[in-house]
Symmetry: C2
Subunit: 122 residues, 2 copies
DNA sequence: CTGTATCCACTGGGATACTG
DNA sequence: CAGTATCCCAGTGGATACAG
């Protein structure tokens, strides 16, 4: 939000930039399944994570959503998509190094969520 | 997502808990205006933040959304609401200490958003 | 001033069926 | 297997008018 500043316009500009940045983050990471998928893939670096396998193991996700979320995340360089020319074809998804570096942020959200639930329960 | 574990059920349980926690966080903090409001209030600890003032200064928010977001955040103990019995009444909102402690998380999101935008631009 | 109520357009996301 | 296409409904959120 910027620091309090005599020059309101400068502060407003800074403020807006930061708010946009925050919204960017939430848009890119806040999707219904995105962080879940990221953590799923981060725990299966050595496995072949095919579309079907992911859908089977992530309870409740539809093909439509899985397609969409994976596509979004690929565009944001968080995951990679590899088409294997078997017959019929298979596709393998993996988290990228860039994707790995957002995991700490995800962990913070998990921790805060746990703490918050405990706090609210009282 | 829990660590890789021989016992699939234990891992699944842990996994679900953590995913729930992550969703909790995103639900509580990911609203369209919530983090924005939190940062707005954190920069105005000494001011009287009335409903109208907030609405005037946060560009684009409707009364309906402002009401809803403030109510949500009050329920989550992130902000406080004080009715002042002037005539007509005024209401002042302020961030709580608990609310203040989520700001670092918000800052991380801002920073990641900035970095990510830079990364994607290339 | 501080909201609520209502209407309404748009979107997110599930179910299902279908394609390459 | 890996998606796409379609339908459809519930929930978001804006605009406007109204109420305490």
């Amino acid at each position: 939000m910027g620091t309090i500043n005599i020059d309101g316009n400068v502060q407003e500009a800074t403020c807006k930039q930061e708010l946009t940045a925050m919204r960017d983050s939430l848009d890119v990471l806040g999707g219904k399944w995105k962080l879940m998928l990221l953590r799923y893939l981060s725990n299966r670096l050595e496995e072949k994570n095919t579309f079907k396998k992911i859908q089977r193991e992530i309870e409740g996700i539809s093909a439509k959503m899985l397609t969409k979320e994976l596509k979004d995340m690929e565009l944001n360089l968080l995951i990679s998509r590899s088409v294997i020319k078997t017959k019929p074809i298979t596709v393998e998804y993996a988290i990228t190094n860039y994707g790995l570096n957002v995991l700490p942020l995800a962990e913070n959200l998990v921790q805060w969520g746990l703490d918050h639930r405990a706090k609210i329960k009282n």
